[in-house]
């Protein structure tokens, strides 16, 4: 009886995933395989307007050909991947020490510190985008202050550049990176560190030869998580990406601006495949390293 009970508990999640993840993904994939066009080409179609027969007769790869050959979209793709990778690595570097402190150190206000670190998670991307504009926009808080200080509005307009995007993206990666790293460090066997110390290892040696190798799988999986979140993040880019085209904003424009749902679906599928592939690769890399260290 007990055995029969377990699958029953899993069932709700399975149903949920099928209905809200697998079905939409299958729909997206199917939709990406018929010719689009949208408003600007004068070819629009309601979502779900095709019958199965019409869909079968209209199968084509032209949306994918366009995504992978059009200079503009290839550029968007590269921008998105590079920005997300940079942000993922940057946020891990930034959050590793604080995560360590959260596990090892005891200090007054520690709970508050942790709570503050998780605040950015509560904000949607759009709000983070507005924050970037208010802080680093044309006449943002920072440039206005520097103008008052030096007579020159340094850092003005940074919000609209690649640097602004990186700052804003790292901002909302902070809680995820800190919390994941903290959990990993918590599992870290500190007796190994103590052993290294008693054998006379310096601080640097302990960091590079004990800590980093043991934590590397966790670090890599945090990078993978941050990468996936950044790839899909859209609110920030919607508000501040001016000349720097990114895939999620292109998808938004294809849907809401041009009603080109078929082409937008193809963009989504390509983005999904890249995110999934990168994630799988990074996680396998992490596992392999872990196995290697265990030997």
């Amino acid at each position: 009886m007990k055995r029969a009970f377990a699958p029953l508990l899993v069932l709700p999640l399975v149903v949920f995933i099928v209905v809200f993840l697998l079905y939409p993904l299958a729909y997206l994939a199917a939709n990406s395989l018929v010719a689009g066009g949208g408003v600007l080409e004068g070819r629009t179609r309601a979502v779900g307007a095709l019958t199965a027969g019409q869909w079968w007769a209209g199968l084509t790869l032209e949306n994918y050909v366009k995504v992978l050959t059009d200079r503009y979209f290839v550029e968007s793709l590269l921008h998105s991947v590079m920005l997300s990778l940079g942000v993922a690595i940057g946020s891990v570097l930034l959050c590793l020490a604080p995560a360590w402190v959260l596990v090892r150190a005891e200090f007054p206000g520690k709970r508050l510190f942790r709570a503050i670190l998780t605040v950015p998670m509560a904000f949607s991307g759009v709000i983070v985008g507005f924050m970037a504009v208010i802080m680093l926009g044309r006449w943002g808080v920072v440039p206005a202050f520097l103008h008052w200080l030096t007579g020159e509005a340094y850092l003005s307009m940074v919000a609209y550049t690649l640097s602004g995007l990186v700052v804003a993206y790292i901002y909302f990666e902070i809680p995820r990176a800190t919390l994941t790293l903290e959990a990993a460090i918590r599992k870290f066997d500190f007796e190994l560190d103590a052993a290294a110390r008693s054998l006379g290892a310096t601080l640097g040696q302990r960091f590079w030869y004990v800590l980093v190798p043991l934590l590397l799988p966790a670090i890599i999986s945090t990078v993978a998580l941050a990468f996936a979140v950044s790839m899909g993040s859209f609110g920030v880019a919607l508000i501040i990406a001016k000349k720097f085209n990114l895939l999620p904003v292109d998808i938004f424009l294809e849907i809401t601006g041009y009603a080109n749902f078929e082409f937008a679906s193809a963009l989504c599928v390509v983005m999904l495949v890249i995110t999934l592939a990168t994630n799988l690769y990074l996680r396998r890399l992490g596992e392999r390293l872990y196995v290697f260290r265990q030997r």
């Binding site: 309601a46 044309r138 003005s156 009603a259």
Partner: protein, 361 residues
């Protein structure tokens, strides 16, 4: 240019003189209320519409008034004209909205795509012919004028004078001080680029003069925002916003912002905004009554409080009109065009703008 039908401009000027007997008198109001109570019983007291941005043309005030006076909840919707149309395309045949508001050029496109149900509201005969579709697929309720919405405090900080002309905006000293919203998303922003085309001698099929100007303007642009720039403009993040004059006056008089409106010296264009009944509307009776009401002076007067000129001239009070004074330039500079021909060029011009302006480096 010479071949244009000056219908729109003539009508807009003519409207100011023609007096209209109000059709929404006490008796009509009583009937309206009775019909509304019936509709509420059948459909509930919630009306969903698309493109009702609270800061645009006083939609916020209109919805509050309608809820307070008639007991129908009519929530705001942050879609723009283009995104509203895209949503209706995606949602047919089961849309979520029952009424929709657009920039007229986009609204006519949507009508031609079969997204609307023909409906002629009460007082149809009082709408001038150029402000309604003969088949009843849409009618205009007011219009705006493309202007420079200038945050004078922001310009003082950077020590640059208030621009008077389109030719000023492309000067190097206005670098990173100008913005218009993304015209592939926002209807008013389409009229901003359309006006740039029109003023520089472009036509329905010759986009080159407009694109040339917009390419020159590109380095001075802060951002092509996909959401409305009302707040960034009011705050001074965007010192010069090419947008509807009414948005500028609203910031100046309602929000107390350091804002002035400039009608550019070379001229500008006016653009109507229309409403329609959505095909397969979930609450058609409420929607029809709301459209009846939108065609009254009562409704259009509330819109006019945000300085959009109503189609029914009696809805514009002298006090409001007196406030609609640009710092520079004059409303005599409004140039006319043929809406039907403009509608046909919308997509091609947007496409050219995307390829040659937004994607340029």
């Amino acid at each position: 240019m010479r071949t244009l039908l000056p219908v729109l401009a003539l009508a807009l000027l003519g409207l100011v003189q023609t007096a209209e007997a109000t059709h929404f008198d006490a008796k009509a109001q009583a009937e309206f209320r009775a019909a509304l109570e019936e509709a509420k019983k059948a459909e509930g007291n919630r009306l969903i519409g698309y493109d009702h941005q609270p800061n645009y043309a006083n939609w916020g005030g209109v919805q509050k008034f309608f809820t307070d006076k008639y007991g129908v909840i009519w929530p705001p919707d942050m879609k723009s004209s283009v995104t509203a149309m895209a949503a209706l395309i995606a949602e047919q045949p089961k849309p979520q909205a029952s009424v929709v508001y657009y920039n007229a050029a986009i609204g006519v496109q949507a009508a031609e795509r079969g997204l609307h149900e023909p409906y002629k509201p009460k007082g149809w005969e009082l709408i001038p012919p150029e402000h309604k579709d003969p088949d009843g697929r849409w009618f205009n309720i007011h219009y705006g004028t493309i202007a420079f919405v200038v945050n004078t405090k922001a310009l003082e900080q950077t020590k640059v004078p208030v621009p008077k002309c389109w030719s000023d905006l492309v000067k190097p000293e206005y670098r990173n001080l100008v913005a218009y919203d993304d015209p592939t998303v926002q209807g008013t922003a389409f009229d901003a680029i359309f006006t740039a085309l029109w003023i520089h001698g472009g036509s329905y099929d010759n986009f080159a003069p407009g694109l040339e100007y917009l390419k020159k303007l590109h380095p001075n642009i802060i951002s092509y925002n996909k959401e409305t720039s009302y707040n960034p403009s009011l705050r001074g993040e965007i010192p010069i916003w090419i947008h509807a004059d009414g948005s500028g006056y609203k910031m100046k008089y309602h929000d107390g912002g350091p804002i002035e409106v400039v009608i550019p010296c070379e001229g500008t264009t006016a653009f109507p905004l229309n409403v329609a009944l959505v095909r397969n509307a979930p609450t058609p009776r409420l929607a029809k009554l709301a459209l009846d009401w939108l065609n009254t002076e009562e409704a259009q007067r509330i819109f006019a409080e945000a300085f959009f000129r109503p189609i029914h001239p009696g809805a514009l009070t002298p006090e409001i009109e007196a406030k609609m004074k640009p710092l520079y330039g004059s409303y005599d500079k409004i140039k006319s065009y043929d809406l039907a021909k403009k509608v046909k060029m919308v997509d091609a011009f947007k496409k050219a703008w995307v390829e040659q302006v937004r994607r340029s480096r």
